[in-house]
């Protein structure tokens, strides 16, 4: 009986410390500065063919999906 109580306590303790570590990890990545409702800052960047592309090129014409990715040659 006592053993089972002890194991429950140990499990609970492990869970608490794991979730604290997880929360700390989440906090180390700050929220993006630009959020829903903000004006998207303009940029002028070179594409894979060497052409400059501006966000403002699409103003009034198209929606833009702006997909930031970590590294080329990786998934996602």
């Amino acid at each position: 009986m006592r053993k089972s109580i002890l194991s429950v306590l140990v499990t609970a303790l492990l869970l608490v410390s794991a979730s604290t570590a997880y929360a700390a990890d989440q906090n180390s990545t700050p929220e993006p500065k630009i959020k829903v409702g903000d004006a998207a800052p303009d940029f002028s960047l070179r594409d894979q063919t060497g052409k400059e592309v501006k966000l403002s090129d699409f103003r009034g014409k198209k929606n833009v999906v702006l997909a930031f990715y970590v590294f080329a040659f990786t998934g996602g």
Binding site: P32, K35, K62, V65
Partner: protein, 103 residues
Amino acid sequence: MKAFQDQLKKLEGADTQVLGVSMDSPFANKAWAAQIGVTFPLLSDMGGDTSKEYGVYNSTYKAARRVTYLIDKEGKVVEMQKDRDAIDPSSVVTSCERRKMKS
């Protein structure tokens, strides 16, 4: 980015331009685009100015974080997805198609 390429017809049909952005060089992006068959622009934010301005720069990896924005025709952010959620474009596709129907 492959997932966005797969949905490109639908997105373009809903008046939407897809732009990928990373801190890779245009040369790396060119080779990668050819390898995975991406035809939309992959923009090179070397130095990370744009990533930092949007607040998606990850100082640990010295790279952009996986974040997807949907920006409307007026230049306003209408949707944002982070990390794992940002990989699947289906919710962005749905909102673009909905916006198209409304307009």
